[in-house]
């Protein structure tokens, strides 16, 4: 009779690194790590050697040097006597400015177009389809350049506004001047007492939130529904306007006036900013519209019908049943569209808008010859923005995720 014995459990052998699944993964990882480090080391070694040969080893002190170039579009104080670092900050703020403006308008336009595309009105739906397909299928760079060209070629010169028989005239009750050097809009002048108006305005916004929560609670307790929208609208406008007139109109507008060769006064919105903002918004809106459409279509018809069977009115069906479910589908791709818009804003360089790519990656890079350092900082900044946005997105996704059994 033979007995079955377990195979002999030997000690560790070298070949087990390859054949034993317990150890093989470690082997693979170590090989991968060594390969990766070797490649990285090779690249860094080459770069160090090349930069040393050129006499410019890695050094970030150029950020403290005088920049010597001007930036016409700026949100903080800056002139050509300030440092490259300051110029980069100005550029970063410009990037964020156009990104935030663009995201807001792109969302508004995109949502409207996405909803209208599902309209039962044939011609409206078709026009929206044409809009979406036109904007999605042409490069964004081309849109930016074309928008800029429209601003420069089509809009009248400031000199056209002069004289008795002027070719062009100011729009909106003589307050806005649309010229090929940019758009001039009235700017507010804050007189004494304006702080009170602003304070009341902020308070009324707080009031809207407080009222909203109170109305919600009241509805939960009593079941009565208030016309919250109209009341909120009244809270938004009425107190501020009353205070404004009681205090004798402390905030006034400064209108742009034609002086010499250009308009003076008011707020000057430069062509480069507006062209970039418009083009990015219209382009991204086409993508957002598609996202919105698919989000709305993703809510099954049964949901709408069930809500109607419960006796909800169409408006409430949309706001209480369809939208919350659609938003879950819409928000993640929407945020990645925001990310795309932010990254596309780097094309500002094509129209001469001084964003972070134009300052740090453009003029500073060319003036100082510090390609390595400039691009490292530039990429780090964009990476930080992107990672911040995607972190926010993940947190949101985690919150709205369907809790399945």
């Amino acid at each position: 009779m033979s007995t079955i014995t377990d195979p002999e459990q030997g000690g560790f052998r070298i070949s087990m690194l390859l054949y034993d699944t317990r150890y093989r993964s470690i082997t693979i990882q170590i090989i991968a790590l060594i390969g990766f480090l070797l490649a990285l080391g090779w690249l860094i070694g080459n770069a160090a050697q090349n930069l040393a040969a050129l006499g410019k080893p890695l050094n970030f002190s150029f950020l403290g040097d005088t920049s010597g170039y001007d930036i016409n579009q700026r949100l903080i104080e800056y002139n050509s006597q300030m440092t490259h670092g300051r110029a980069a900050v100005v550029g970063l703020l410009n990037t964020l400015l156009v990104a935030v403006l663009g995201c807001i308008t792109a969302t508004v336009i995109g949502v409207i177009i996405g909803v209208l595309r599902l309209s039962k009105n044939w011609i409206i739906a078709k026009i929206m389809t044409v809009y979406i397909e036109t904007f999605r299928n042409v490069p964004v760079l081309l849109w930016i350049i074309m928008t800029m060209a429209i601003f420069i070629e089509v809009f009248p010169k400031p000199s056209d506004f002069r004289g008795a028989d002027a070719v062009a005239s100011m729009k909106l009750f003589e307050s806005v001047a649309v010229t090929n050097r940019g758009i001039f809009i009235p700017s507010p002048i804050f007189g004494s007492g304006s702080m009170a108006v602003i304070a009341v305005f902020i308070l009324s916004i707080v009031g809207i939130f407080v009222f909203g929560r109170w109305a919600h609670k009241r509805q939960d307790e009593t079941g009565q529904i208030l016309p919250t929208f109209w009341i909120k609208l009244a809270i938004f406008f009425v107190p501020s306007i009353i205070v404004f007139y009681v205090l004798g109109q402390p905030i006034s507008l400064e209108y742009p006036v034609l002086k010499g060769f250009n308009f003076k006064g008011g707020f000057h919105m430069r062509n480069s900013l507006i062209a970039l903002w418009f083009a990015l918004s219209l382009y991204t809106a086409a993508f957002i519209a598609e996202t919105v459409r698919s989000g709305i279509q993703a809510v099954s018809k049964g949901q709408t019908e069930a809500a109607a069977a419960l006796g909800l009115r169409p408006g409430r069906i949309t706001s209480l049943v369809v939208l919350p479910q659609a938003l879950r589908v819409i928000i993640p791709p929407m945020i990645s569209q925001y990310m795309n818009l932010t990254k596309n804003s780097s094309l500002a360089i094509a129209v001469g808008y001084m964003d972070i790519t134009g300052t740090l990656g453009g003029v500073t890079l060319n003036q100082t010859g510090r390609e390595m350092e400039s691009l490292m900082i530039l990429m780090a900044i964009y990476l930080t923005i992107s990672l911040t946005i995607s972190t926010v997105m993940n947190v949101y996704n985690e919150r709205v995720k369907l809790r399945e059994r």
Binding site: N46, W122, L142, K343, Y382
Partner: protein
Amino acid sequence: MSNVSYVRTVMLQEQAPPASQAGIVKWLRENMFSNIPNSILSIAALWAIYYVLNDVLPWAFQSSWNAKSLGECRSVIAAAYGEGASGACWAVINDRFLQLVFGFYPSELYWRPIVAFVLMFAAIAPVLFDGLPRKMLRFTMIYPFFAFWLLWGGSLWVPLMIIAGFVLGYLAFGVVSKMASSLVGMIAAVLVPILWWLFLAGDVATMLQSIIPLSIEAVSSSNFGGFMLSITIGVIGIALSLPIGIVLALGRQSDLMIVKVICVGFIEFIRGVPLITLLFVASTLLNYFMPPGTNFDLILRVIIMVTLFASAYMAEVIRGGLAALPKGQYEGADSLGLDFWQSTRLIIMPQALKISIPNIVSSFIGLFKDTTLVSIIGLLDPIGLSTNIRANQEWNGVIWELYGFIALVFWVFCFSMSRYSMYLERKLQTGH
């Protein structure tokens, strides 16, 4: 008894439906004028369409196609349609068409990019259509090298030696994995071609060239331009990014910590920065990362960076395909006793890639549009060329015709591809 019936024996003639319930009137009432707000919207929309077309159509059609300069063009339009008529000067497209398509590629060699372009369809066809014989895939594999040789010219031995590297890698995998394990085989399959290309391929190619000269006229990269450049960069970027993307996607899905961290880091880094910064790297920095003294031309550097850019996006697309596969496929492959590479190669990847094709097409559309960015670093893609053409004295001042033409060509390419990918998506959906 007379036959009196209370029931009608002869049917009445069918009456036409009321005018409001038939034909175009019914359609209009339902689809455009169903209620007052809708009617207002429809009328506003019709007015807007009229307003736009009223301006654009005369401009587009009161045009001149034959002229040698903008001034001549304007005088032709004025003569034909009366003084003060503003018309498009399409003559600039007529005059510079070949340049917009081929850049500064030598005109006697135009047949080479054309042949490469036509053969591209033959190469893609077996990937896109299941009905074609599988043997055509072999041509698809050879095509990139062949197209490279057609476009850039030079010795045929160079692409052949590059192919030889892949063949050597394949052989090494076969031999070594029989001798040792498939893991060692994989390492050999990676190392052998790299060693071959680095140390031997160049010399062997030179030697073979001196024995059997097989070469066509070389064309320098600086002559590339126009839509040819866009298509070249786009197609090469996508084709090369596919294998890299597959590896990255597998790495990202893998259980191996270190491999996963490296892949995720690479993908997120590339996806987090704008393409233009990568192109800046290509134009100013890439040479620094190579051994001292290396210098290769700008288009090649751009292609490298575009490939890295596209492969990060491709990795995400393929990861989507891998995630969409039912878990049963993975488990089924495991239960057949296949190891990781076998199951990936034979079971997982073919299905995952098939699901991903629509998204691969979409990412190609994105990349193709993004190739216009190379104009910012000074390459002569269509947008770069349009600036170039306008810098010319004859065509100084032509704006809308050039931009319009470029936009139209991009639109036609991208729109047809996006329609195709939607069609594929519908076709693939019928599976379950």
